[in-house]
Symmetry: C2
Subunit: 237 residues, 2 copies
Amino acid sequence: VIADAILSALQGDMTLDGLKSHKPLTGRRAIVTAGPTREPIDPVRYLSNHSSGRQGYAIAQALADLGAEVELVTGPTSIATPLGTKNTTIETALEMRAAVEAALPADIFVSVAAVADWRPAERTSKKTQKPVDGPAPLQLIENPDILRSVCESDKRPELVVGFAAETHDVVELARAKRLRKGCDWIVANDVSGDVMGGQENEMIIVTETSEDRLPRQSKQAAAQALARKIANHFGEI
Amino acid sequence: VIADAILSALQGDMTLDGLKSHKPLTGRRAIVTAGPTREPIDPVRYLSNHSSGRQGYAIAQALADLGAEVELVTGPTSIATPLGTKNTTIETALEMRAAVEAALPADIFVSVAAVADWRPAERTSKKTQKPVDGPAPLQLIENPDILRSVCESDKRPELVVGFAAETHDVVELARAKRLRKGCDWIVANDVSGDVMGGQENEMIIVTETSEDRLPRQSKQAAAQALARKIANHFGEI
């Protein structure tokens, strides 16, 4: 359909407005975070999580396909980054915060990354030797809350969407998270199965006034549905 | 050269012994461990390390290329497993120990995996919610020492080779590790640069009587050098 529209526009029998209707987010700037963060314990060991980056990459791609200028800030993954987006790879939550701050301002912020809540309190520059009398507890400190700080920023994007990956009480925790973070929408995911790292997702989009349950579908299809809902929010569909 | 030898053998102008000289480890069974382990904190979070699996996979491949029957026990990696080896993928150190025990007996054990020294003392079945008053320290317990238990096993392979990835005092720590574990050789690696996860390696093979410093080279070339030294140990080259 888009190829046809481009062809028609090139042939002069369609206006630029007609072409733009297929790219409803043209002129909008979006920042998407994706993947896990890795929080170093020493040069060899780290704390991380099972996020594959697939859902975030698919959302970045879907927003770009609708015409948005997309900046993707991603933790380490083993999958290919999307085409048509600006990609920055980081390791830690602190690096992700810095990259997101550098990417602002934007109209849309979609926080899909599974940012580690905590990081080791100390990072040793040498690999820790195994102590003879057993391991000491790993002291943890809280990572910056990137979603909340974007919401509280002077440069707060018009639409801020967070994700809540939970294994239980999914919608209740998502509603609470929306209020706590100050974001507009929370996409709730039940990750008690193989969603995190898997190929499919069943999203529930929680807004101030609604809960939109999408069917279980591929992460690509779910991303396209979310991107259309975002375009709709901006009154462009 | 091998293809030529096979061709010659097929043409009948070479004996089976002549062919076997190119496959000096024919009839020998090897177990190789590779990659990191992942130690779950909850269904989403884990402890791991930067091992890519590249060096271990290359050694499994090099031993198979010399005719050994190779069983590779690997943690999660993002690279393709070797051809011509039996591959078992595990996540945790406990799973790796079980897989190695199941794979014994063998003539050769090469422990390349970066097995996590410690694992979280408790693994929760639900994703832990972020506590309001900051994170509690993560209690750790020691993982089984797979290399040492193979060395102490009734089924101890004739040749047991460990790896020591260190960021400092590399050879000293390797010598100490050889004695502590009871293995025959330790391959020392300096991972203070990008070796862990990188494409090249500079091995120092520490035996009871010698230290064999190999040049910095691709992990494939280093693996082939180690495999030849192993074949030589068995008097087959």
